[in-house]
């Protein structure tokens, strides 16, 4: 329903003083509204809205140098430069979940391909020296077998953010270094046909390193379990029913061909620890 009163200073009913007072009140309201509502606004545009400050800061200097994939480096001052850290957590079904922590940086998938704006862009994932993928967020999964992961921050125009001529990046090694070449990641980038995969496990009392998880194996793949225990024990692979004695503090290898699919536990008989699970698909 509509309002039942009007702003017009209606002539009050000529009975008693109440009407006259109301009339005065209406008149006052009218005057106030006139002053407040209309003063000086008729010739302006709308209120100024947001600020329209133009950006005056630069976006760094493109250097002649490039990264190994040919992306030019974009040098920015160290204070205020973006930064990245990376950590890896083993995944329960194999491989690793890596998590990026960025500072003074945000992922801008919508504007990729546009100009570089400080603190914006994406991350590139380099696994064992090869460009793997582009990241628009903080999480990524890397498959089993990868030994090192490097994440590098790029601008929207694909240049690499750099400080003092070096890319803004972070690297982490994945899992225990294993043979054949734990210190030479580039060597692992070529496929090794045999003896297949090696899983390193160390048992210390009740502690298993790496913590028990799942190892994904393709059917037909050869797997070597290399186990070091701090006390004498027996290593047993369920399903395949393979056993081997574990002397104290000496690594022992058990190699099998994963010719049956399924989930198979690897455990120690004496201490009753589950060391890992093999998922054969």
């Amino acid at each position: 329903m509509s309002a039942r009163v009007s702003a017009r200073p209606t002539a009050p009913p000529a009975r008693g003083t109440a009407g006259r007072r109301s009339g005065v009140l209406l008149g006052a309201v009218l005057a106030v509204t006139l002053a407040a509502g209309c003063g000086g606004r008729a010739t302006t545009h709308h209120k100024p809205g947001t600020g329209h400050q133009v950006a005056t800061g630069g976006n760094g200097t493109v250097l002649p140098a490039t990264d190994e994939a040919g992306h030019r480096l974009r040098e920015v001052e160290a204070p205020g430069a973006p930064a990245v850290r990376v950590e890896a957590r083993p995944d329960s079904e194999g491989g690793w979940n890596i998590h990026l922590t960025v500072e003074r940086f945000r992922f801008t998938p919508e504007s990729v391909g546009g100009a570089a704006i400080p603190g914006r862009g994406y991350a590139r994932v380099v696994t064992d020296g090869k460009e793997a993928t582009r990241l628009y967020g903080p999480w990524h999964h890397v498959p089993p077998g990868v030994r090192t992961v490097t994440v590098r921050l790029h601008a929207d125009d694909h240049t690499v953010w750099a400080v003092a001529g070096r890319p803004v990046e972070a690297t982490t090694a994945l899992g225990p270094p294993g043979p054949p070449s734990p210190t030479a990641p580039s060597a692992t980038s070529t496929p090794v046909p045999a003896p297949g995969r090696t899983v390193e496990i160390t048992v210390n009392g009740d502690s298993v390193q790496p913590p028990p998880s799942r190892v994904e194996v393709r059917k037909g793949e050869r797997v070597t379990l290399r186990v070091t225990s701090d006390r004498p024990d027996t290593l047993h692979v369920h399903g395949y029913d393979r056993e081997v004695a574990l002397p104290a503090d000496r690594p022992v290898s058990l190699t099998l061909t994963a010719d049956r699919t399924g989930l198979f536990e690897v455990e120690t008989h004496e201490s009753g620890l589950v060391l890992t699970q093999l998922v054969v698909r």
Partner: protein, 687 residues
């Protein structure tokens, strides 16, 4: 806001209406420019030239180009490689260099795939350009003359095209995203074509400015073909004071005002009816989404908007006459046909409230979906018309809106800077909404709008299709089949009082002060927070107390009066309920009026013997209230300059005071002078 203040607001609705429309622009018009006049209209819409380009723009990194074109079809790839070889030898590295090399009309510039930052244009003004004498707009930038733009083309523009005729600028990529002009929020405009008749833009992207990406000013003849604009403080495309324009297959998003703004399109049909010889600007095949409004047109005159999609904005499209300085006001003769206007329910006001929009533009995060709405407008609306005439809205699909499909209100002339009395009610006439598909998508799936129509009630010759669903008011003038035929027309000089009060409250929006009016549902107010419900409740309380006092003191013995008071009370309660957002467009408000009116009428009848004068006033009030119900629910009464609601409101003031005096008098036949103080305090205690 206190009750007292709320009452004061209510008491001042007439002026409020004027003030409200001053500040409320359900549209998009934050544009201050040097004084310009319309072109003379002797030009024409330019045609695409497909021959070899005259000038080339590219970067010199061949590997980069090869990467960019690697997915192109073979023929296009070969063409780009050939153009690249030619460009490296004799082309330009920046678009501005090529524009500066244009030395005759009719030249074509081809821009090869790449990212163009126009570095030579970027430095801030220096020397004489840093100290130009020019007025500063309310928006903070200088309003430069054409000569000053020529003198300092990069004070405000990344690329300035000044006075070039029949120029064509085209990207040579496979899609418009292959050629990107990026202003990085360092300039007001990315590309400005000023007094450049016959300009043809094709196949590129322009983005990230602090005003608009692609700006055509005072041009007779322009085409915007397959261009994308995004992430601007105000507009994607702004074409102003121009004629013979064509937008086609364009896209725009992420703009704080509108994606597409054909402001002050040439006013070539002023004075005509619906039949017009031509339109000044045609817009077709465009999509505008995730903006404050998809399309806007302050003085968007004679614009033919057809087969576009405006979706997921706060409002689909708007046009208005709410701002001075725009040639061609009041707005008239826009024609909307076969557009898909749907799901415009975004609400970006929280970004104002939380301070995101107070950051500098580069920091706001437009790229991740932030939009900073520049003005106050009703989110959840399909097409808003705030002060327009002779607009045609036919055969559009308008669905999925949480407020209303169509929103029509008037704007008095002084708001646009015209003070002549004869012009004050010259907007909101002859707008025709017919044959639209309301509340269904193109496949026929129901996607209802909460209401199909919201109208302030002002203006003559407006009409809506008969099958429109929920509307406010409930009874609308209905369009006949031929244009111009209206049944149940109206001639109101001013809109409904409560709607105008709402506009006043809603208009108190201020981006910079981060002020979102608490009483306005545009900003999220619900239930008792809304000014409409507060007003209804305040008046219900006042009337219930006064009516109750009257009944208790004078009519307690009468059963009829008791029943009348009950009916009236029920009506008042329903009135409060009917003021809520969910019931305002249904039958409840009219039902409430019927009950209140019946109560008053019966009360008047029982009062006749004791107080004939008051009785007749009460009867008149009852009759006006019933008439108001008839006006809102059955047929809008024609040939009346004010709705019954206004008369009812005026009379109600008289009645409240009179009833107070009557009920406080000691004897029915001899009112005492001492009754006066009691009467004077009563409204205070009631309010």
């Amino acid at each position: 806001m206190s009750w007292t203040r709320r009452l004061l607001v209510a008491l001042s609705v007439v002026l409020a209406a004027l003030a409200a429309t001053l500040l409320t622009a359900p549209g998009a018009q934050a544009h201050e420019e040097r004084p310009v006049t319309f072109p003379d209209g002797s030009g024409s819409v330019p045609k695409l030239r497909t021959g070899e380009p005259d000038l080339l723009v590219c970067k010199t990194d061949r590997a980069d180009l090869v990467r960019r074109i690697s997915g192109f079809p073979a023929a296009l790839k070969a063409r780009n490689l050939a153009l690249f070889d030619r460009c490296v030898r004799g082309g330009h590295r920046h678009l501005q260099q090529a524009v500066d090399a244009v030395d005759r009309p009719g030249m074509t510039i081809a821009v090869l795939p790449g990212l163009y930052e126009e570095q030579p244009s970027l430095p801030p003004p220096a020397g004489a350009c840093a100290s130009l004498e020019a007025p500063t707009s309310a928006l903070g930038y200088q309003i430069l003359s054409y000569e000053q733009q020529k003198q300092c083309p990069h004070n405000q523009n990344l690329v300035a095209i000044l006075g070039k005729k029949d120029l064509q600028i085209e990207g040579t990529g496979a899609s418009r995203l292959d050629v990107v002009f990026d202003a990085k929020y360092a300039k007001l405009n990315a590309i400005r074509a000023d007094e450049s008749d016959g300009i043809y833009f094709r196949n590129f992207t322009a983005q990230r400015t602090t005003f608009n990406s692609l700006y055509v000013l005072a041009g007779d003849g322009f085409v915007i073909d397959d261009v994308l604009t995004r992430w601007n403080d105000e507009y994607g495309f702004l074409t102003f004071a121009s004629d013979h324009g064509l937008y086609k297959n364009c896209e725009s998003y992420g703009n704080g005002d509108s994606g597409i703004y054909p402001g002050s399109a040439s006013d070539i049909n002023n004075g005509r009816g619906y039949d017009v010889p031509r339109y000044s600007i045609e817009i077709t095949g465009c999509r505008s989404h995730h903006n404050m409004v998809g399309y806007s047109g302050t003085a968007g005159d004679s614009v033919w908007v057809h087969d576009n999609e405006f979706d997921h904005n706060m409002g689909g499209a708007s046009m208005d006459s709410a701002f001075p300085g725009h040639p061609g006001l009041p707005q008239n003769h826009a024609r909307f046909e076969r557009n898909l206007i749907h799901d415009n329910n975004q609400n970006y006001y929280p970004y104002v409230a939380d301070g995101t929009c107070a950051e500098p533009p580069v920091e706001r995060g437009y790229e991740r979906g932030v939009v900073c709405p520049q003005i106050s407008m009703p989110p959840g609306t399909g097409i808003i018309t705030a002060g327009g005439n002779w607009n045609l809205y036919e055969n559009n699909w308008v669905y999925g809106h949480q407020r209303a499909a169509f929103y029509l209100s008037a704007v008095p002339a002084f708001v646009r800077g015209e003070s002549a009395w004869g012009k004050q009610a010259d907007t909101s006439h002859h707008n025709r909404y017919a044959g639209n598909h309301l509340g269904v998508d193109r496949t026929g799936t129901p996607r209802p709008n909460r209401a199909d129509v919201w109208w302030d009630g002002q203006g003559g010759g407006n009409c809506w299709q008969a099958d429109a669903g929920a509307s406010s008011p409930g009874a609308l003038p209905v369009c006949g089949t031929p244009r111009g035929e209206v049944s149940g027309g109206s001639d109101r000089l001013i809109g409904e009082p409560v709607k105008l009060a709402q506009l006043l409250v809603c208009a108190d929006y201020d981006v910079q002060a981060r002020r979102l009016p608490v009483g306005c549902d545009w900003y999220g107010a619900r239930g008792i927070q809304r000014v409409e419900t507060q007003l209804a409740l305040a008046f219900a309380v006042v009337l219930a107390l006064v009516g109750g006092a009257l009944w208790w003191r004078r009519l307690r013995g009468s059963r009829v009066a008791g029943a009348a008071a009950l009916v009236g009370l029920t009506g008042l309660a329903l009135d409060v309920a009917g003021s809520t957002l969910s019931l305002a467009s249904g039958p409840v408000p009219a039902l409430a009026l019927v009950l209140t009116g019946t109560g008053w009428t019966a009360l008047g009848v029982t009062l006749r013997a004791e107080r004939p004068a008051l009785a007749w006033t009460t009867l008149s009030l009852g009759a006006l209230t019933l008439l108001d119900a008839f006006d809102k629910a059955v047929l809008m009464i024609p040939w009346t300059p004010l709705s019954p609601a206004w008369l009812r409101g005026l009379l109600a003031v008289v009645w409240v005071l009179w009833a107070l005096v009557a009920s406080s008098a000691r004897t029915p036949s001899r009112p005492s002078r001492r009754a006066a103080p009691a009467a004077a305090t009563a409204p205070g205690s009631a309010g």
